[in-house]
Amino acid sequence: MTKSELIQRLAERNPHLYLRDVEKIVDTVFDEITGALANGDRVELRGFGAFSVKEREARTGRNPRTGETVQVEAKRLPFFKTGKALREALNNEKDDSQSSEDSFYSPFSTSD
């Protein structure tokens, strides 16, 4: 599924909305997550997963082909950890544990 297919599916689910508004909703969601990560913030979507940024320090690397040493600059890398409910749904496990970290939300209907 691509972003435009996602927009289409949401438009079908919400016939009362203009397509351009559905596009704006989807763009806003991903722009917000991107902006938060650019600020160094963490994005936690219970049941779905969490996006975070990891810092990598500058290091002296080596070109594995030529053996030449190269200076690798410090950088930040985005990172995603799958949420419990989604991980369980992927493996067809019933989400019936009361102590689950996701027990406040039922983020999506498990189809089984």
Partner: protein, 100 residues
């Protein structure tokens, strides 16, 4: 990160949708949930999700392997399972490294 870093949640995403699109707060938060729902359900059905200029989510199948209880040293089989892998797009990686 630094002292000013915070955690963004569904409520923040819903607030942005509310401000940007002009739906009610209730409907904004419902739509954020629907976005996550559609992505989740697609992945559960076995289809990958690719969001241009953000990244892609794909499901990887891991075969059975032998694990070990680190406390007791007892070997236990780890059943085959599916794991979700997120690959950030270059646009996202570049945005994250802009403000240094």
């Amino acid at each position: 990160m630094d002292d000013t870093s915070r955690t963004i949640t569904r409520a923040d995403l819903a607030e942005s949708v509310y401000e940007q699109v002009g739906l009610s707060r209730n409907e904004s938060s419902d739509l954020v949930e629907q976005v996550l729902d559609e992505i989740s359900n697609t992945l559960v059905s076995g289809e990958n999700v690719k969001i241009s200029s953000f990244g892609s989510f794909s499901v990887r199948e891991k075969g059975e392997r032998i694990g070990r209880n680190p406390k007791t040293g007892v070997e236990v089989p780890i059943s085959p399972r599916k794991v979700l892998v997120f690959r950030a797009s270059h646009v996202l990686k570049d945005r994250i490294n802009e403000k240094q």
